[in-house]
């Protein structure tokens, strides 16, 4: 019974990682940039959701949508202001810029509202406990899990069945050729940032409701963990990010279950190291040769 309970814990945590990892992986897939500011977009989403619920008195779904829209705009702004001018610069320049943007967002928010933590109200979602064969699952975690899954299904639909999704896949495959085919590469990249950031915003609200406490530096560790999840699944591959996120959540839960809770963060990064050594393309990645 304990094992099943731990798996439930792991899946709840993992679905949050998965939502953040999707943004990482989409952006990497299309511009080959590890967007380290992504964890902070997640944090901003969490705060937008918090203020939407407490100040504007919105309920869960409107707050979630508002946060997603705000984050989408925020993500596009980051891309247009910070990354677009560096599109043809070296990749290391863009990477360092991403770290700079991340620090700017974190400390900017601390400057504006201070570093004190905030607590999500407890009554956003109904709190019922379901006991299934001795495994207790809160109705919150079920709702959170279903929201995550619905968002992932919508994402799959967007990527595979819509025009913009087709453009995204084309740019990711070969941006030069896509440009020759008349695809607006800049808009496609912006759309990718918008979608990825919206998912991070949703993850932020879900995180806030599930874990209550939010603060300006909350995005750092989940951001890094989501990066590990993205690499684990194969960076640039969307189903890989989902599986990687869920897997990482379960691994962490099992490490704690074995009594090594202090090693939990360490194990997540050990996973990263092992993946990079033994399976650099990730679980779902194809071992493609470098294009010359």
């Amino acid at each position: 019974m304990e094992l099943i309970q731990q798996l439930v814990n792991g899946v709840s945590l993992g679905s949050i990682y998965a939502l953040i990892a999707l943004g990482y992986t989409m952006v990497y897939g299309i511009v080959k940039l590890i967007n380290f500011a992504h964890g902070d977009v997640f944090m901003v989403g969490s705060f937008v959701g918090f203020y939407a619920i407490t100040v504007m008195d919105l309920s869960f779904i409107p707050a979630l949508l508002l946060s997603m829209v705000t984050c989408a705009i925020f993500g596009v702004l980051i891309e247009r202001i910070a990354y677009k001018p560096l599109r043809n610069a070296t990749r290391i320049a863009a990477l360092i810029t991403a770290i700079g943007v991340s620090l700017l967002i974190e400390n900017g928010l601390i400057y504006v509202r201070g570093a004190q933590p905030e607590a999500y109200p407890n009554n956003v979602l109904p709190m019922d406990k379901l006991d299934i064969f001795g495994v207790s699952i809160s109705s919150q975690s079920i709702l959170i899990l279903s929201v995550s899954i619905i968002l992932m299904i919508i994402l799959q639909f967007v990527v595979h069945k819509t025009k913009i999704g087709k453009a995204m896949r084309a740019v990711s495959f070969d941006s030069e050729a896509a440009k020759l085919m008349g695809i607006n590469v800049n808009n496609t990249i912006s759309a990718t940032f918008a979608i990825g950031s919206a998912l991070a915003g949703a993850a932020g609200v879900i995180f806030g409701i599930y874990y209550i406490k939010i603060e300006p530096l909350m995005g750092v560790l989940p951001g890094l963990k989501a990066f590990v999840a993205a690499v684990l699944g194969g960076i640039g591959i969307i189903p890989g990010a989902m599986v990687g996120g869920l897997l990482l959540g379960i691994i962490e839960a099992l490490v704690s279950a074995a009594g090594y809770s202090l090693w939990r963060d360490g194990v997540a990064f050990i996973v990263l190291i092992f993946i990079l050594i033994f399976l650099p393309q990730g679980l779902f990645g194809k071992n493609r040769r470098e294009k010359v």
């Binding site: 407890n122 207790s136 919150q140 406490k213 202090l262």
Partner: protein, 394 residues
């Protein structure tokens, strides 16, 4: 170039001034005793956090101290009045050190009431030792303040009990009042405070014949505790000791209740913040207890008199810091009275010799480390509010 020269001149000037101040300082410490008792008033220094990050602690202690001194001055001590010389250490350790030096060397106080937090009090310990002026902190609970690595700081005293003592009290409460035979400990491994309480709890609980069935740890800033809580749940303890700070404690309680852990939880004064109620919610705080220095709801006549006097003066309910600040005033006044000539050395001796002094936060006695042995108050959360449960004597 010119600026540099000017700076050099200033620097050397200030160095000279420092040397001179040093000289004056050593002179006063040898003759300070004689001069202080000839005046009309007896000067006491107060080096507190009146601004900065922990200002709410320092301000509370200052309010309590002032109330006590005002009451004492109605009668005076052998015809003399006490005068508080306040220094704001801005919640900063360096400021606390220089503030203490100023109090001792310029204002020539007979004793210094130290800071509300352990860090800022530790920064003054050396000044007190070097100048042989007693330092009495109202609320700094770190054991190192009075006794570092087996060496007693003989000029340093405190009014509050130390951290590990709360663990002992919690263990007694768990086995005597709750009747728990088995307990789990969930500790913040990044905090010395938490580990100190946990070690004391473990020792006292096993001494009472109880069994620790699970020992788990987290680190400050963790947010997901569910997996570890599930482990604790399956170890089937009757009681969980959780000596953390309010942010993580709030999250742990909430997640524990969600996972169906309805056990009694208990912690120390690290829980004592409105944030814990905000984060966990009143429902999750059901069946939880904390140890604290005092409760304004205690029926004890001395406490109720103090609460009424404090409310009249400041229009608010005194917290533990205010109560300990108030007690510090009385402890010091008592020592000055018994010292006879109000010299720092005699006051030090009198502070050390204290016996069964009745204070708001309990009856005060010192152990050989200058750490108070006195009763602790157990508070229970009812509907998200702290309510007085019982008082445990050591």
């Amino acid at each position: 170039m010119k600026k540099k020269k000017l700076a050099g001149v200033f620097l050397s000037l200030s160095l000279v001034a420092g040397v001179l101040a040093g000289c004056g300082d050593s002179k006063t410490s040898s003759s300070g005793g004689g001069s202080s008792d000839s005046g009309e008033t007896i000067k006491i220094g107060a080096n507190l956090e009146l601004s900065g990050g922990t200002a709410s602690f320092g301000q509370s202690a200052a309010d309590g101290l002032k109330l006590a001194i005002d009451e004492i001055n109605k009668e005076g001590i052998d015809g003399k009045k006490l005068e508080i010389v306040k220094v704001d250490n801005k919640s900063d350790a360096a400021e606390a050190t220089s503030g203490s030096i100023k109090l001792v060397s310029q204002d020539k106080v007979v004793a210094v009431v130290g800071s509300a937090t352990s860090t800022n009090t530790l920064a003054q310990v050396q000044v007190a030792q070097d100048n042989k002026v007693p330092l009495l902190t109202p609320t700094a609970t770190n054991p190192d303040i009075t006794n570092k690595a087996g060496k007693l700081n003989d000029y340093v005293f405190r009014t509050c009990f130390i951290d590990p003592f709360q663990g002992t009290v919690a263990a007694n409460f768990a086995s005597d009042e709750i009747g728990a035979k088995t307990a789990a400990i969930y500790v913040d491994s990044a905090s010395d405070y938490s580990k100190g309480l946990a070690a004391a709890f473990k020792e006292a609980f096993t001494a009472k014949g109880g069994k620790i069935v699970a020992e788990e740890a987290y680190v400050t800033k963790d947010t997901d505790f569910r997996s570890t809580l599930t482990r604790i749940k399956s170890a089937k303890p009757e009681f969980v000791f959780l000596p953390g700070y309010y942010e993580e404690v709030g999250l742990i309680l909430k997640q524990a209740r969600e996972d169906g852990i309805d056990l009694p939880f208990m912690g120390g004064d690290g829980w004592d913040s409105p944030k814990v109620v905000e984060i966990a919610g009143a429902e999750a705080l059901k069946n939880t207890y904390i140890t604290n220095h005092y409760s304004p709801e205690d029926e004890d006549a001395k406490i109720q008199d103090f609460v009424a006097a404090f409310k009249k003066e400041y229009k608010k309910t005194p917290d533990a810091f205010a109560a300990l600040g108030y007690d510090t005033g009385y402890y010091l006044a008592d020592a000055i009275k018994r010292s006879g000539d109000a010299s720092p050395e005699k006051i030090r001796q009198a502070l050390e010799d204290v016996k069964d002094l009745q204070l708001v936060s309990g009856t005060l006695n010192l152990d050989e480390n200058h750490d108070p042995i006195k009763s602790a108050t157990i508070l229970e959360y009812v509907d998200g509010k702290q309510t007085f449960k019982t008082k445990i004597n050591p």
